[in-house]
Symmetry: C2
Subunit: 254 residues, 2 copies
DNA sequence: CGATATTTTGACCCGGCTCAACCCAAGTGG
DNA sequence: CCACTTGGGTTGAGCCGGGTCAAAATATCG
């Protein structure tokens, strides 16, 4: 219930690290910034850690801060009054959390793994946003990317079968894992599933049981292998893509 | 198949109208522009009309133009290789079509009613975008709005029942119709359904038959009345919202 | 007016949900 | 060290909402 982005947590700030050797330096909002512009953000940034399952913001709250995911995975979710829940976005390192120019949060943000955020005070960030076009441009670029990803996900939610949903999700994780090592996905790739079955179900518009059953189905079909419940081995990436219903490398981003 | 935004249609341009008395002057990308900035866009804009069902762009095409919907409704859709189709956005007057900084279209755009677009040559528009922060700001604002709408729609696609989907869609159209007359939705509101049953099914992640059946169900429950197949009467807006599963006025935008 | 598209309705089926049991690994406390 | 929780994950049995297939009813249009 108590949101940490909401109010007065300056006391809990982590110490500064230099932006220059930040792991997300070339992918986050600050990408286009040169040294002196970067100093503007560096001056107002602070880090904050969250435990798995911890709520970062709740829908409807007024947030005082916004910023980037540095480590870990954050789920953005919406909930109906009777408890049905849909995750509308998974935020990985370098993704930006919080909506500029509109302080009220439209969705819950929950840490699904241990998370570290690089946060900025909202009014100060928005002033910098007004004054430096490079930041505005990058933010527009990232938002357009999010929009494309959201629309890809709409196709998945509205039209794909449970089996295709799981395969699509795994193929995206595989691509992401390969990209982190600066290469294309290869056969034999092994990567971690950062989500519980429940978080996967929320993201894919399914139930836990269906997620589990479809994973079993993919396993028995030889499309994937489970190292353990949280580690996946993809013997044949093309086969996975084909089950996912993507032609070649069909557009998904996040 | 042949896309009209793609190439060399300068010959088919409609005549200019003044931006000053444009019907979408205060809501489109140009909102924040003063007279002299507006002249920049005015100089390069042209109008183009489309018939219902006509394709405006196809996914994968490189588009030479982008711009605003002036009249009518455009559906943005994605299609799987076996033909399953999901509409990922409905664009109404003042909405912006086309992705700056990335010429390849990610989805089909199809006119669902007679449509008039106000178009700009891509390279020239992007130059203006670089040079005038007001445009960039407005575009960011609109894109963030689209992202919120897309995520709301993900909740609908992933978690709502067919009945709730239809009711939600109608409540949004009701809100939009009321907003056009600058007032809140009132009981007794009558408005047009601009979409065929098929287009609704594509948007809601359903089949035509289910759409038709659920409309009948809502009618028999007294939540809506059909003036004719394309005109809806809402005797009790609160009842409609309640069926839609929205608390009070739950956040939906487009 | 026939011709063609759109919408509605009916009968049936099946994929994914519900409910329930069970498994397993990791605490936790006596 | 073992008994007991606890939280994730898997599996099974049965059901039902929405899909499929088919046909009738109702626009829309030359």
């Amino acid at each position: 219930m108590s949101s940490v982005l909401k109010l007065g947590l300056r006391n809990h700030r982590e110490q500064h690290d230099s932006c220059c050797d930040c792991t997300i330096r070339n992918r986050a909002v600050c990408t286009y910034y040169g040294p002196q512009e970067l100093a503007l953000l560096e001056a107002i940034k602070f880090y904050k850690k969250f435990q798995p399952g911890q709520e970062i913001v709740a829908a409807g709250e007024v947030t005082e801060f916004l910023g980037s995911v540095v480590d870990g995975v954050v789920a953005l979710s919406k909930t109906l009054s009777d408890g049905r829940r849909q995750t509308v976005g998974l935020m990985f390192p370098s993704d930006f959390i919080g909506r500029p120019m509109q302080p009220m949060a439209h969705y819950d943000a929950i840490a699904v793994t241990p998370v570290r955020l690089c946060l900025f005070d909202r009014p100060r960030f928005e002033r910098i946003l007004r004054d430096t076009p490079a930041l505005a441009k990058r933010l527009l670029e990232m938002t357009l990317g999010e929009l494309d990803a959201a629309r890809d996900w709409m196709l998945l939610l509205g039209r794909k079968t449970a089996n295709e949903k799981i395969a699509t999700f795994f193929s995206i994780l595989a691509r992401r894992a390969a990209a982190l090592e600066h290469k294309a996905p290869t056969d034999g790739l092994v990567f971690e599933l950062p989500l519980t079955r429940e978080a996967m179900a929320d993201y894919l518009g399914l139930t836990i049981e269906t997620v589990s059953r479809q994973i079993t189905t993919l396993r028995k079909a030889g499309v994937i292998e489970l190292v353990d419940a949280r580690h996946l081995h993809v013997p044949n990436y093309a086969a996975l893509l084909s089950v996912a219903g993507e032609d070649a490398d069909g557009g998904m981003i996040a």
